[in-house]
Amino acid sequence: MIGRLIRLCRWLWRITIAGVLLWLRRGKEPLPERELPASPRAEKGVAALLVGAGIAGAAFALLYAFDEANTQLLGVAAAVSLGLLAAALIVASHAIVPQETLSEERPRFADPAAEREAKVEDVALRAREGVDGITRRRLLGAAGGAAALGLGAAAAAPLASLGPRVGERLRESPWRDGRPVVDENSRPVLADDLTVGAFLTAFAEGSDKRDLASSLVVVRVRPEELELPPERADWAPQGLLAFSKICTHAQCAISLFRYPLFAERSPGPALVCPCHYSTFDVLKGGVRIFGPAVRPLPQLPLKIEAGRLLAAGPLSGAVGASWGGVEEGS
């Protein structure tokens, strides 16, 4: 009881204080203060800065016309001109033009509450009046929804013209049994060209080199090191392995090959993508050993005929980044 009384007194006291402060402050708006700081010195200074800006600007034009448009000099001329202009404007705003501090009332969005509320009520009422006398509002609403849905579909449908149907497009690949492997200059890749530890970018013969599924990395390791799964036992003749060059994480080109020079103390041979360092084990047939990639690097079975490298079948999985619906582990 007494506690409540004390709390009440406190509130009364606070409200009184607030009221007194408000009353004291009434009419004590900071009066617009106005100073006229202009002096001959400041005016001369600003004039000098402006003339300097003009000279530097003209220098830009001259450099452009006569000095082969040297990028550095042009940049400096433009920067000096603009910098002097900035200095002139800022000095002028502080030391030449009248300095004043004004106070302005803000437009009120919420206060006084009653007035605003009345306006809101007015708008709401007006909106509601628009549907006066209609009995089957639900029906009309639903029909309107149906119209919007249909028209929306009609408006969105042409967007599909932008691209071809996905279908199997993301799985297309030039690799078939017997397709020759060629290098960047379209010359056939010979098995003897590659030494142990070598790394070569190769393509399917006759394919577009920009085709994501065409590019390969061909590497050579010692055949006895291989730990390929049994069904891939004959995919790497003479220790020659081929993988898709496109990382299965974010489809950057696999451009790094780590081949240990001292196998006892180094991790095994691996292909590394430079974008996010997804790392694939070469000996085990491209399984991921580090980094954000999940699917293994697709491997291409190889065969050697008359010394030339040929595909012995299609790639072991989809090329490039995973998409919703791609089969895992392939």
Binding site: A69, G75, L85, A86, S93, S103, R169, L212
Partner: protein, 474 residues
């Protein structure tokens, strides 16, 4: 002379009274209010230099053999887009300068928006009646990042191609529709068809800039209508705005800032090389380079792609959510989602639904400042993780160790930042010190004891008379 011009205008448009008001329009002064202006002026310079660049750039992927003035590339097959960008850099007078100014302006534009966003967040400027405008600002930030990405992807050099490969992978990773969406936008499987280049070009020079420009106009109008916010100080109330009138001092100062921004950008564009595309060479899907980095505003996404452990969501034998989704889509959605949700979260937490025209200092609201510090620390940690490959290539810091350190840091540092900032704000509030502030706001302390212990920490406990009278705080 001036009178005649004003009269002529007024008689034809009736704009006399509006002009009179506009000249006396009051801007509150504070250095932190300038970041938005810097973003605005960077955008103006982007539009100006960008128009110049479109006159020379050819958005085409058709292949030509290079015979231009950069000897190391002669005889190579490159795209027309890359060739026109090389010619623009080497053969067009002032072309390289303008291209570099454009690139620097883009970096500055996004940076200024981010700092501006932090100012808005930590001073509570996003509160009613400005929450709508805050959402518009966030939308512009997203568009600006997209616009920058589209811009440097147009050149068809090695780096831009690698960026697009990742972008395509992120598009493909969207559950259910990713395959269709990626194929649709690129006109086929990556690297896509000729049509993709023209789509990217139109997005960069028309759709995105018009969207940003339009939103910017609305943004400025919505700043002007309720007037700019102001910090507490003598004579400053919720109901007024105290500051410098537009004419003459503020206009001169703002134009001065414009000239200064332009001066810095031209100095950078002239003297500091950026994106020397001739060194990267043309892009082919089978080419890559170690230590490649995007423009800075994409660093946080690269970092997220790096840090995410290697898992997909697989149902049966079908991959439903491929890995790039986590870092490339979900992470930015979470960050922006949180920023969009924050005004309503804070309203709910504090129960404060009043209109606010007076700004908080960061200490005035320890919880908000701590949450903001935690969020920005989180994003910054992941941003730095994006540079792990450079630390590896340049300094030989083991990559795997860095990754684990960053993963731990992305959990620990935000918590530390939260606790540290909260403590600091509370200590500052208690001491009422004003580090580095000359003109301390007058604090009116009624003699009555404050109910400090019971009040919500989100409620400002330093009521000035005007503030207390208007606040509906319980």
């Amino acid at each position: 002379m001036i009178r005649r011009a004003v009269r002529a205008l007024d008689q034809r448009t009736g704009a006399g009274s509006i002009l009179g008001k506009a000249l006396k329009y009051v801007f509150p002064d504070h250095w932190t209010f300038l970041f938005g202006e810097i973003a605005l002026y960077s955008f103006v310079i982007l539009v100006g230099t960008g128009i110049y660049l479109t006159l020379f750039f050819e958005p085409s992927t058709s292949q030509v053999v290079y015979h231009g003035s950069y000897a190391p590339l002669r005889g190579q097959e490159i795209s027309k887009a890359y060739e026109s960008a090389l010619d623009l850099s080497f053969n067009v007078r002032a072309g390289l300068l303008i291209r570099q100014v454009h690139h620097w302006a883009a970096l500055t534009f996004v940076a200024a928006i981010v700092v501006h966003l932090m100012r808005i967040f930590f001073t509570g400027a996003f509160r009613k009646p400005r929450d709508l405008n805050y959402y518009i600002g966030l939308t512009m930030l997203m568009l600006a990042v997209l616009e920058g990405y589209a811009g440097y992807s147009l050149l068809d050099d090695l780096l831009s191609g690698m960026g697009l490969a990742i972008g395509n992978a992120v598009a493909l990773s969207i559950p259910f529709v990713g395959g269709q969406l990626g194929t649709l936008i690129w006109g086929g499987r990556f690297p896509g068809t000729e049509a993709f280049m023209s789509r990217l070009f139109i997005a960069h020079v028309l759709l995105l800039p018009v969207a940003i420009g339009g939103l910017m106009a609305v943004h400025l109008a919505m700043v002007a209508t309720p007037h700019h916010t102001q910090f507490r100080g003598r004579g400053r109330k919720e109901t007024n705005v105290v500051g410098t009138p537009l004419w003459p001092a503020y206009a001169l100062r703002s134009l001065g800032l414009f000239a200064a921004v332009a001066a810095v950008l031209f100095a950078l564009g002239g003297l500091v090389q950026i994106n020397p595309i001739w060194q990267w060479g043309p892009y082919e899907p089978y080419l890559g380079t170690n230590g490649a980095q995007p423009d800075w505003y994409l660093g946080w996404l690269i970092g997220a792609l790096r840090l995410m452990p290697h898992f997909d969501i697989v149902v049966g034998s079908y991959n439903v959510v491929p890995n790039p989704f986590w870092g490339g889509v979900l992470f930015p959605l979470v960050v922006f989602g949180f920023l969009f949700a924050w005004p309503s979260i804070e309203r709910r937490w504090s129960g404060d639904r009043a209109q606010h025209n007076l700004l908080d200092r960061p200490r005035d609201n320890p919880r908000r400042s701590a949450v903001g510090a935690a969020l920005f620390t989180w994003v910054a940690t992941i941003f730095f993780a994006g540079s792990a490959d450079r630390a590896f290539v340049q300094f030989g810091v083991p990559y795997e160790g860095q990754l684990w350190a960053y993963r731990a840091a992305s959990f620990l540092l935000p918590v530390l930042a939260y606790l540290l900032v909260k403590r600091m704000c509370e200590a500052l509030r208690r001491s009422e010190g004003h580090p580095g502030e000359g003109s301390a706001p007058v604090v009116v302390r009624p003699a009555a004891p404050q109910a400090a212990g019971r009040a919500s920490p989100l409620i400002d406990q330093r009521p000035t008379a005007g503030h207390q009278a208007r606040s509906p705080h319980k």
